[in-house]
């Protein structure tokens, strides 16, 4: 955003859909939580946030409604650090976050950073959180070094950091050459269970030594992503589908793919697409068969040509003339109606494998562990995310149903492999009174 030009940004291609889909309770949110080795100093964090936000022009924005699309306008104010809300990933509205599309909050030794997906994806958010931590540690007087892994406050802002990489990687194609079908899903099993009232969500985090996990994966000749995906599918089958003796069901995982690894981009805004991994659940499923299915699906969906086609399809949809000239409120109505009819039961769960977060070694004495979480909703009642920081992998389960059967079964698989697990929870499923008495 140069000084002379009007300070506003178009939403990137995949962000355009998120504000349109949001309703009273649901919003595409994800969060990053960092447990420090000591209590968080809220005042210092507040100062760190005020300083850090200046380095990230694409975050320093508020969402506005235009005639045809939403857009971002530069935010003139200062973001605040809040006390963490017991309600995990509470909706970010203009009134509860001062107009920003993210929320930084803290509790005891944990820093929570919640993001509305319209503003960035996991990679962009991680860069922001790393920079915030760097500023925080520096202000605290700790000797930390960015080690070229952190966008520190003084570093120059590259205009490409806020480009829409979908547009820069878009190749014009004829409509008949596009694979619209690749974006559609099949009807799949939706996890059942008693829902929490209101926007309540249950969270369970499992922390495990990354080396142990990788060793087990090697023994089974698969990657960490394949292993977690396969174990999750097995857990869903054994705890939800098998006991109810349902007719054959398709389990479909919705897996975000970070396009920065395949296309040249340094953008801090959204640049990810998704792959669908589907299997028909049956007693014949084995860990080996599932890992190889996942391997095959991911190999197919991460080929450059396939992704390039998908990018072209989504950009084509955005540039489609009738779509562009439709006023925003009509677009929203159409999206909501089409989602009502076609969007339901297209996925069993969202599974995001973030991989290793590149944190500087100098942060290590101050950070206990770190994890990612994705919001769950009625259409997708359970989400699972895996991320590794230093030697610890955090597997996060976020759910809108009360029972913890899937998590319990998943943990059993890991412990049976001899993997050590440390578990935390927000105990949303337990009554207040029960928590007090116990």
């Amino acid at each position: 955003m140069s000084e002379k030009k009007a300070k506003w940004l178009r939403l990137d291609n995949s962000a355009k859909i998120f504000p349109m889909m949001a309703d009273k309770q649901n919003q595409n949110l994800f969060n990053i939580f960092v447990r420090l080795n000591e209590s968080v100093d809220k005042e210092v964090l507040q100062r760190a946030l005020e300083i850090t936000i200046k380095r990230f022009p694409s975050m320093n924005v508020m969402l506005k409604r235009g005639v045809f699309w939403f857009y971002f306008e530069e935010h003139g104010g200062k973001p605040r650090v809040y006390d963490a809300d017991p309600l995990v990933m509470k909706k970010i509205s203009s009134s509860n976050c001062g107009g920003f599309c993210f929320r930084i909050s803290c509790f005891e030794n944990v820093i929570f950073a919640d993001f509305f997906h319209a503003v960035t994806d996991g990679t962009g958010a991680a860069e922001f959180v790393k920079s915030l931590l760097f500023t925080y540690f520096t202000l605290k007087g700790y000797s930390v070094d960015g080690e070229q892994k952190v966008m520190t406050v003084g570093s120059p802002v590259n205009p490409r950091e806020y480009e829409d990489s979908f547009l820069t990687n878009y190749k014009k194609k004829k409509i008949k050459d596009l694979t619209i079908s690749s974006l559609k899903g099949k009807k799949s099993y939706r996890i059942s269970g008693i829902r929490f009232d209101n926007a309540g969500k249950g969270v369970i985090n499992m922390y495990t030594p990354a080396k142990q996990f990788v060793k087990v994966c090697r023994e089974h000749n698969c990657t960490v992503t394949e292993m977690i995906g396969a174990l999750f599918m097995l857990s869903v089958y054994e705890t939800k589908i098998k006991p109810e003796s349902l007719p054959p069901q398709d389990i479909q995982l919705f897996v975000p793919i970070n396009l920065r690894k395949i296309f040249p981009s340094v953008t801090l805004r959204n640049f990810s697409l998704f792959s669908r991994i589907g299997v028909t659940a049956s007693d014949d499923m084995t860990l080996e068969s599932l890992t190889s299915t996942i391997h095959e699906c991911l190999r197919r969906d991460t080929q450059k040509e396939v992704l390039s086609d998908k990018i072209s399809t989504t950009v084509y949809a955005e540039k489609f003339l009738p779509m562009r000239i439709l006023p925003l409120f009509l677009k929203r109505v159409i999206f909501k109606i089409s989602n009502l009819f076609f969007g339901k039961n297209k996925k069993t769960a969202t599974f995001s494998s973030v991989g290793v977060v590149a944190l500087p070694e100098s942060f290590k004495p101050y950070i206990k562990d770190m994890g990612f979480g994705i919001t769950a909703n009625n259409a997708c009642p359970v989400t699972i995310t895996a991320a590794t920081a230093y030697d610890t992998m955090c597997i996060n389960f976020t759910r809108t149903i009360t029972d913890t059967e899937i998590e319990k079964r998943f943990a059993r698989y890991l412990t049976d492999f001899g993997i050590e697990l440390k578990v935390t929870s927000n105990f949303w499923e337990v009554d207040d009174d029960a928590l007090q008495i116990l």
């Binding site: 009007a6 506003w8 178009r10 447990r35 506005k64 409604r65 235009g66 005639v67 045809f68 699309w69 857009y71 306008e73 006390d83 963490a84 809300d85 017991p86 309600l87 995990v88 203009s94 509790f107 005891e108 030794n109 944990v110 009232d197 209101n198 969270v203 369970i204 985090n205 499992m206 922390y207 562009r324 000239i325 913890t404 998590e407 319990k408 943990a411 059993r412 412990t415 050590e420 697990l421 440390k422 578990v423 935390t424 929870s425 927000n426 105990f427 949303w428 337990v430 207040d432 928590l435 116990l438």
Partner: protein, 230 residues
């Protein structure tokens, strides 16, 4: 703390296992553990069941008032059915609260709905009190132009006062001013008989548009660019 049933270590301050909810056996090292999430308080729970929101209280009170008015009005066999006016004004209050005060819409959209709502109330007054008000032309001839002018004036004053903080308001004023030509269009198609107020309204709004365009052309172009991008 360990859960012997799940064979996992529990890494937050609690007495039960996060997975199976069995009671945990504690040892002295557990004193150091912190909760991983802010505790679910009675307050968070209670918030879910609040029905006494301002909107609900207003709705309940106005329904009661309206029903009482209907009972009195019809019970006493009064020829003028003023209770409909009371109902309309209460409804106006509700819509103002929802769509003007609590809404995040653009200022010109809020002002536009105000013009529509006030005009409808005036029309209803004409229908209800038709025994006193025999001439119906005042509605379009006089009331509508005045309401539009007052709205444009109000929004104009607000945007001048807040121009440093919110340049977008200038754009809203410009947009709203376009509605000022509606009465003169009505005159052209024969809906309005006495042209004076309509002409003044059109002139006033033209002046406002001219002022905005002359003094804030750059801001308006910027604002148009961002709001109308497609």
């Amino acid at each position: 703390m360990r859960c012997k049933f799940c064979n996992v270590e529990v890494d937050c301050k609690t007495h039960i296992c996060p997975l199976c909810h069995e009671k945990l056996t504690t040892d002295e090292n557990d004193e150091k553990l912190l909760p991983a999430f802010p505790p679910k308080t009675a307050k968070t729970e209670r918030k879910k069941h609040t029905h006494f929101t301002l909107t609900n209280v207003y709705l309940a009170a106005s329904t009661i008032i309206f029903l009482v008015c209907i009972a009195v009005n019809f019970g006493l066999h009064q020829p003028t059915k003023w209770c409909w006016m009371v109902g309309a004004i209460l409804l106006y209050g509700f819509l103002t609260m929802r769509n003007t005060v609590l809404s995040s819409s653009s200022a010109w959209i809020k002002a536009f709905w105000q013009i529509v709502m006030i005009s409808l109330i005036m029309w209803l007054a004409q229908v209800v009190f038709d025994d006193i008000m025999t001439d119906t032309y005042w509605l379009l001839d006089l009331a509508l132009p005045i309401i539009i002018m007052l709205s444009v004036l109000t929004l104009g004053i607000i945007s001048c006062a807040l121009v440093r903080r919110n340049k977008a308001l200038l754009y809203d004023t410009l947009f709203l001013s376009l509605i000022g030509f509606l009465p003169i269009i009505f005159y052209a198609v024969g809906l309005v008989q006495k042209v004076l107020a309509s002409a003044i309204c059109a002139g006033f709004c033209a002046a406002v548009i001219a002022c905005v365009v002359i003094f804030a052309r750059k801001e308006i172009v910027d604002e148009m660019e961002r709001r109308l991008h497609w």
